[in-house]
């Protein structure tokens, strides 16, 4: 962080930015279920270098948005398929082999903690 930014010409053409945004904006009549985008009503304000509180802030944002979306679906889009049925099996993002390694690592960590106690 020792670098002093050299004076650069700043460009921030707000008029053009907003015009461009309007030109690509999705049709406002689209139902919310087409984009599934949620806005978090707070700005993230934590110390960037404090890993723990930073990740907590992101977690809080995600949790707030997830609960908000869940309620929205329950209230206004009752036929929207949110929860996967218990008998619906399909490929996951991470393979079973990978998840087994994750589980094994957690067990190993637990074991080391117990040993050191």
């Amino acid at each position: 962080d020792d670098v002093i930014p050299t004076q650069k010409v700043e460009i921030n053409n707000k008029v053009a930015l907003s015009r461009i945004r309007e030109s690509i904006q999705l049709d406002i009549s689209l139902p919310w279920t087409e984009t599934l985008a949620v806005s978090y009503p707070h700005a993230i304000q934590v110390d960037v270098n404090d890993d723990l509180s930073r990740e907590l802030a992101f977690y809080k944002q995600a949790l707030h948005s997830a609960t908000h979306a869940r309620l929205l679906v329950a209230k206004s889009y009752s036929d929207f398929p949110w929860t996967r049925p218990n008998d619906y099996f399909a490929e996951m993002v991470k393979t079973d082999v990978h998840m087994e390694r994750v589980r094994q690592k957690l067990l190993d960590e637990k074991a080391t903690i117990q040993k050191s106690e």
Partner: protein
């Protein structure tokens, strides 16, 4: 985007397809990050590496050939720096960003998992609404990272959430699994909890161009220092120490 002129009875759909490709010279970590994005976004069409870094004007043509109206282009420089271009096709805008702090899904620390092809929620913090460049970025990211219901490989359910947060003038990306049952009391009332799936990365916006991979600059980040400049400053600092000792 799906504006069919015709009887208004027809349901309007959000139609997005994203072309995903990289330049030559990506390292394994960058490649894994691209794979993670591909696996999370079923409306992504991956293409082979672009041959020349100076011929970005080929990209709109390539997107058109693949019927894509968005492009994510990863540009690797010096085998260590990674840039990401997010662009709307065919007429722009394009946002060029610097990618840092990459953690991929392969890491064993992140224990979450989700259906392949499920539709993720998108969450943007308030910071995006406070500036014009933020609003434009939010709109474009909604097109690119939102899985349209019409995507061929998409599963209809929602079991994960992608979050974008602005902190320290950078965009932080996280991906969490949504669990509706409390593992401690499986028969109790549903309680939403989250487990991180990955990947993680941080994007520093550098420039926004009006066109697709070109055109007038409408935003430039005055705070951005190129990673090469950072490294050379560090080296100069170390050299100074040596010179002092020598004298």
């Amino acid at each position: 985007n799906g504006q069919t002129a015709g009887p208004a009875v027809k349901k309007r759909k959000n139609k997005q397809r994203v072309l995903l490709l990289s330049s030559r010279g990506v390292t394994h970590r960058m490649r894994h990050l691209m794979n993670d994005i591909e696996v999370l976004l079923p409306h992504v069409k991956k293409d082979s590496k672009l041959d020349s870094k100076s011929q970005l004007q080929l990209l709109p043509e390539l997107a058109d050939l693949n019927n894509c109206n968005n492009t994510l282009y990863f540009e690797a420089r010096r085998h260590e720096d990674l840039y990401l271009w997010a662009a709307k096709m065919p007429n722009g805008p394009s946002i060029k960003m610097h990618v840092q702090n990459v953690h991929t899904m392969d890491e064993l620390k992140m224990t979450g998992n989700c259906l392949k092809g499920s539709r993720g929620l998108l969450s943007f913090d308030k910071g995006f609404d406070e500036t014009e460049w933020g609003k434009l970025t939010k709109e474009l990211f909604t097109h690119i990272f939102g899985v349209p219901s019409t995507a061929r490989k998409a599963k209809p359910f929602v079991d994960h959430i992608l979050t974008f947060s602005i902190l320290d003038e950078k965009i932080w990306f996280r991906n969490f699994q949504i669990i509706e049952k409390d593992p401690l009391s499986p028969n109790g009332p549903p309680q939403t909890t989250l487990v991180e799936i990955g990947p993680r990365f941080v994007l520093t916006p550098i420039r926004i161009f009006e066109g697709a991979f070109g055109g007038a600059t409408v935003y430039s980040n005055p705070e951005f220092v190129t990673p090469a400049a950072v490294r050379s400053a560090v080296r100069r600092e170390q050299g100074k120490k040596y010179n002092l000792r020598k004298d």
